[in-house]
């Protein structure tokens, strides 16, 4: 399990290759990369606030829950905080398993829990104004779907 919380930029490809090199016996590797989306071509930057200490605990718990639920060879979660520009990678998860369905489902699960259970908050500066990104009902619904599955 590899959990990283950092302000520094990262290269998703390099991270994927390093992750893949470290798993043995897995036939399937799934990655998810989240990128900063522009807003009406006017996003000056995004600032991600987090809760140091709790962030690492929450991500470790989410990764552990995924490992308990699926037969995974390994799990990676990296999430940035601080200031980011449009199209920069915000975060990445990767899962490896013998089975492609397990790798897909676990990555999807990690993303759903990370979005609503890890203490990050996004603030966008658009046309000189700062605004907090709002959580959506969809995000909570996604968690409920896992609980009843």
């Amino acid at each position: 399990m590899d959990i990283r919380v950092q302000s520094e930029p990262f290269q998703p490809g390099a991270l994927l290759d390093a992750f893949t090199a470290g798993v043995s016996g897995a036939g399937a590797v799934v990655s998810f990369t989240g990128l900063v989306r522009d807003v009406d071509d006017a996003l000056e930057h995004m600032v991600i606030e987090h809760y140091p200490g709790m962030t690492e605990r929450a991500l470790t718990k989410i990764a552990q829950d995924a490992q308990d639920r699926w037969p995974l060879s390994d799990v990676l979660i990296l999430h940035r905080y601080g200031e980011l520009r449009a199209e920069e990678p915000i975060m990445m998860v990767a899962t490896a398993s013998r089975h492609r369905k397990a790798a897909f489902e676990a990555a999807d699960f990690l993303m759903d829990y990370l979005k609503s259970r890890a203490p990050f908050w996004k603030n966008e500066r658009v046309a000189g104004e700062d605004r907090w990104v709002a959580a959506t009902e969809e995000d909570e619904d996604a968690l409920k779907a896992w609980e009843t599955r």
């Binding site: 989240g34 809760y51 605990r57 203490p119 908050w121 603030n123 907090w132 709002a134």
Partner: protein, 83 residues
């Protein structure tokens, strides 16, 4: 007891600080919110609708009626928006 109380995102902005030490006998986060609300207008405004907020005790998400006995750190914040 003395608790470290943390605020994040727009809650931090409305309260005007991210961290404070609070002397309290509150048994639950809900009681702690009541005490803070009574303290100053900015708390009353920030905590107007706690259904829009989440709380963590010692870095674990809990309900507003969770026990505070033995806790060291309580954090209030809006729903998370990572990913």
């Amino acid at each position: 007891m003395t608790l470290t109380v943390l605020y994040f995102a727009w809650l931090r902005e409305r309260i005007g600080e991210g961290r404070e030490e609070v002397e309290t006998d509150a048994a639950t986060p809900a009681e702690l919110v009541e005490e803070l609300r009574a303290r100053e207008e900015r708390y009353a405004v920030a905590f107007q609708d706690i259904s829009a907020l989440k709380v963590a005790v010692d870095q674990e998400l809990v309900g507003f009626d969770a026990p505070l006995a033995g806790a060291k750190e309580v954090a209030f914040f809006p729903p998370m928006t990572g990913g």
